[in-house]
């Protein structure tokens, strides 16, 4: 057993690695999450159902052959680094929120719980939106569906989320991920020494909470947007018109 409170020296890059953990959570991963959820939420925009979403996805795919390298270097590598190191950090803590029920202590425990959920959810999500995700209720997300209708991205996204049990998984995943980012911004402001006084930390807390609420609404809104998109299979197969996708109001 290690002696309590004795710094294990020799870990030369400990500080750098922990600061990179904080930075990767914010800059590539956090910003990506915002862009991702906002892009998804364009499915809610008025007009032809799925049309705005299609345009948003096309803008992303305009990167062409650069898209995959950008995804790997800009998203997957920082995300994996943040997640795996995060699991290691979780293991260094011993939560005591049952004993000391302070708001900040509950947030500390939630940050670790949601980090874990977010990691599991993202692994599932990435698996689920590819052709090899069919066994887990998913399928291939694509810019164009097989019928070649003009809002193919929206129909494939809707099809992937069609099973009833996907909705709660996605809702929990989105809420956990957004909480982890919003609370992570709050703690990173302390980590980097930007908010020092309790007063500035409190103000930052309100701002982060507001950010979290808005991003949660955007994320959940996008999910409901895809769920209310009905894919008229007959139309898809018979005539390639703009009316193959419609919105049904539950």
């Amino acid at each position: 057993m290690q002696q309590v409170g004795s710094p294990a020296s020799g870990e030369k890059y400990h500080f750098l690695i922990r600061r990179l953990h904080s930075a990767t959570g914010l800059v590539p991963v956090g910003i990506f999450l915002c862009i991702h959820l906002v892009t998804n939420a364009t499915v809610l925009l008025p007009g032809d159902p799925g049309y705005e979403f299609q345009k948003s996805v096309e803008r992303i795919h305009a990167l062409g052959p650069l898209l995959v390298p950008v995804e790997i270097i800009g998203i997957f590598v920082p995300l994996l680094f943040h997640s795996l190191l995060g699991v290691q950090i979780i293991l260094t803590g011993k939560s005591n929120a049952q004993q000391y029920r302070y708001g900040s202590n509950i947030r500390y425990t939630l940050q670790r719980t949601t980090g874990f959920i977010a990691f599991a959810f993202i692994l599932y999500h990435v698996w689920q939106v590819h052709w090899f995700g069919k066994p887990v209720g998913g399928g291939q997300f694509s810019l164009h569906d097989e019928a070649g209708n003009p809002a193919g991205a929206a129909t494939t996204a809707a099809a992937i989320q069609a099973a009833w049990w996907i909705a709660p998984i996605y809702a929990i995943g989105v809420v956990s991920t957004v909480y982890h980012l919003a609370n992570g911004i709050w703690t990173s402001l302390i980590t980097w020494g930007i908010t020092i006084r309790p007063k500035s930390q409190k103000t930052a807390g309100y701002i982060c909470a507001a950010f979290g609420v808005v991003l949660t609404l955007i994320g959940l809104g996008a999910l409901s947007g895809f769920r209310t998109l009905s894919i008229d299979s007959e139309d898809v197969h018979t005539k390639n018109t703009t009316h193959t996708v419609s919105r049904h109001v539950p």
Binding site: V4, G5, A8, E11, S104, T191, G193
Partner: protein, 252 residues
């Protein structure tokens, strides 16, 4: 018949023995604190089951929340036995009082723990002002009133262990040195003479077990009996180590 309070105590005979719980019925006296309770048990070490037992070992020294020696976990919350008044405890939890030693330190006996890890951390961060000798060096450097006002609250730390006891990041599988040592490093860095060792302190704070291992649960500041702004010190340590590392990596 006078009112008695059941006092449940976690006991351990030696550092190597297992622990057990014993309950003592202590006659209530108005205004008594937990130290008084332990004195009454020592005077008559008879358990609630009328079994003869031994006096419960405990530390106590100043009896006015200045030394930190009597720190223990009382009704699930870490605090000093001397300033824990029985009347208040019965308000929190009406039926009984539960005492156990701090969980983050090795138990010596019963409620006595060895707080040496706290002191080791203090020496690691050089929590002192270095003097070259005992000869007269004249008056010290002027300290502005603003700096004094920042420093005074930090100087109240009595190394009692409350902050590390409540800290989820301070445990046997984490190298974290804890809030008290970080705050003392910030205190002595703010002192004009103490600042001679500033870089050494920042080197320790930016090493493994330093500031990067804080998880921002902020329990430390809430349980601190001296109301030390520990989270201010932690955030300052975050800022100072960031700038220190930038200076290190890019040359000063």
């Amino acid at each position: 018949m006078a009112k008695t309070i059941p006092v449940k105590i976690k006991r351990q005979d030696t550092p190597h023995d297992g622990s057990r719980w014993e309950t003592f019925d202590v006659p209530y006296e108005s205004g008594m604190n937990v130290t008084t309770v332990l004195q009454r048990i020592a005077a008559n070490p008879m358990t609630a089951e009328q079994q003869s037992s031994t006096p419960v070992a405990y530390d106590a020294c100043c009896l006015e929340e200045i030394c930190g020696a009597c720190t223990m976990v009382i009704n699930g919350r870490v605090r000093q036995a001397c300033s824990a008044l029985v009347d208040d405890l019965l308000q929190e939890q009406a039926d009984s009082i539960e005492l156990q030693p701090m969980t983050k330190f090795p138990v010596v006996r019963d409620l006595v723990v060895n707080r040496q890890p706290m002191f080791n951390s203090l020496s690691k961060v050089k929590a002192w002002v270095r003097v070259d000798g005992y000869h007269d060096m004249g008056s010290g450097p002027r300290v502005s009133e603003a700096t004094q006002e920042e420093a005074y609250p930090l100087s109240r730390c009595m190394t009692c262990g409350c902050c590390v006891e409540a800290c989820p990041q301070f445990n046997d599988h984490s190298p974290f040195i804890g809030p008290a040592a970080i705050s003392q490093a910030i205190l002595f860095n703010s002192h004009p003479t103490g600042a001679v060792d500033r870089e050494d302190r920042l080197a320790v704070l930016s090493d493994a077990g330093g500031i990067a291992d804080c998880g921002n649960s902020q329990n430390c500041v809430k349980v601190c009996p001296k109301e030390i702004p520990l989270t201010d010190s932690i955030a300052k340590a975050g800022r100072d180590t960031t700038l220190y590392k930038i200076r290190q990596w890019f040359g000063r």
